[in-house]
Symmetry: C2
Subunit: 310 residues, 2 copies
């Protein structure tokens, strides 16, 4: 970081739901923390109530929001981010909730404070979806997009195709560390719906609400059906779609039966893909077999963009 980007950093605070919080503006040792040596741990309960106190003590310049997703309210992450921006820190978020429920408010607050609010990790990890628009594709119109953006259902379909039961396939996704805290968020399409909304708000500039997404999960499809269509050269995928309709947008999440030649059909495991329907050309991006470190990479990339603007 110092050699390539002339960026010097230190870790000055960590707050978790389970282990309480620590802060030291002189710097904490990441290795010691990872090994469970937390100096001066404050109790869990004051976070997020005392998130401002924690930010003050840590004197944070950049705040990473990685709490677990509440798709229905976006809380408490929204309050964390407001506190961090008001404190004067850049915010890097891997949490989709604040994007879906408060993107305009948080972006405006960030602009007022001359800070960045970045969230590349929320969709396809560190793949530069949000970093690519608009500077990479100026003067284009995004008419809509489609994608397979949920790894859990992707793994579940693949494992069921191979003969596993639904329950075991879900356990496999959880063991891979890719399932949301509550797996129903994946299986019922909430994670995908939240991603469609985040993409639509940020890339298309349309303030769509989560309850406007027509959402169908994958629970109604039997394992037998999944295996029989696979034998016939087709595959189920949980497909997200958004398409402009006048000044508004139609957003859907539903299992779709895809032909084997469809680029979205060939995704395995944690791979995901998105297709952008631009006025100049169609553009697809595929992320191949990312691990959990790919999400961490997205946070790092946003960190560099925040402190080293192009």
């Amino acid at each position: 970081m110092r050699r390539r980007y002339d960026v010097r950093w230190r870790l000055t605070g960590v707050a978790t739901r389970r282990a309480g919080w620590v802060a030291d503006s002189d710097g904490l040792s990441p290795i010691a923390l990872l090994n469970g040596h937390w100096p001066m741990v404050h109790p869990t309960s004051p976070v997020p109530q005392s998130v401002s106190e924690w930010l003050e003590k840590s004197r944070a310049d950049v705040f990473f929001e990685t709490s677990s997703l509440d798709p229905h309210s976006g809380q408490p992450a929204i309050d964390h981010i407001k506190a961090a921006l008001n404190h004067g820190a850049h915010v890097v978020s891997a949490n989709k909730g604040p994007v879906v429920h408060a993107y305009d408010i948080l972006s405006s607050l960030a602009r007022e404070r001359d800070k960045k609010f970045l969230c590349e990790s929320t969709v396809m990890d560190g793949v530069p979806i949000f970093a690519m628009f608009p500077s990479g594709l100026p003067a284009t119109e995004l008419r809509g997009f489609s994608g397979v953006l949920n790894s859990t259902t992707n793994v579940v379909f693949t494992e069921v195709e191979k003969g596993m039961s639904f329950e075991d396939a879900i356990k496999r996704a959880q063991a891979l560390g890719i399932a949301e805290t509550d797996p129903s968020y994946d299986l019922d399409g909430w994670d995908s719906a939240v991603k469609v909304v985040a993409l639509t708000i940020i890339l298309m500039g349309i303030p769509v609400k989560l309850d406007q997404v027509q959402r169908t999960g994958i629970r109604e499809i039997s394992a037998e059906k999944i295996r029989s269509v696979r034998a016939a050269g087709m595959r189920y995928k949980l497909v997200c779609r958004a398409a402009r309709r006048g000044a508004g947008v139609d957003c859907t999440v539903r299992p779709e039966l895809l032909l084997a030649g469809d680029p979205l059909a060939n995704l395995e495991g944690t791979s995901s893909a998105i297709h952008f329907d631009l006025d100049v050309f169609g553009l697809s991006m595929v992320e191949h077999n990312p691990g959990i470190d790919a999400t961490a990479y997205g946070l790092l990339a946003d960190f560099i963009r925040a402190v080293r603007p192009a």
Copy 2:
């Protein structure tokens, strides 16, 4: 352009091999020129000899280099670009020759003059390959890449698969406006080799030379062979590859037999694709069915990036 980017522009000069050159710093009418009404045409021969005179008369702030490719020398485009940068104009190039033969020199000259030298259109039209690195993917290592980047051979393979002769398939690519001026540049893999070199120099920072690319064209494959493998569920594509080897790089261009499920195998017509082998994840980008206007779009996107830096 004015409303979205606060950019006001006028066309102040055009120079072509066939129609001579015009320049007027007060502005020329693009419509009139497109209809063949060229005021005060100077003879063809003084370009590029008098490219400096033409730049002075046009008082160009931005210069677009779109002359045809000479893969072996990169000329006369290199001289055009040097003259434009020395004149004080940003340079936007759709010509791969200067990138392959003079990227370091031209980039250094651009930096010295505090101008941009941009070339997004040289590979996959306006798809933001060069605009995405490094800001979109900071702190990554690009280990290598593979791609199907030549439309002419793609169209030829597809049409031959459908039963057309090689000769007619080449004529079809020429009618689509996608073949290089000399179709042997496509068929013998020069266009692909030049793209591999451009990508390797710009994205991997390795100053590879064109003659270091192991290059095999598509002429040795018979139409019967192309049709028989297609019937067996496989397809030929002219595949480009680069892979780091120590401090150097191995670059190849050759026809490869791909399984139908391979993402590169499903490309039709003018579509192209590239796969980046990054240390954090694999990332593929696919451009679907671009027309000739997609190349023009790439020039426009670079123009906006040059005059409106992010």
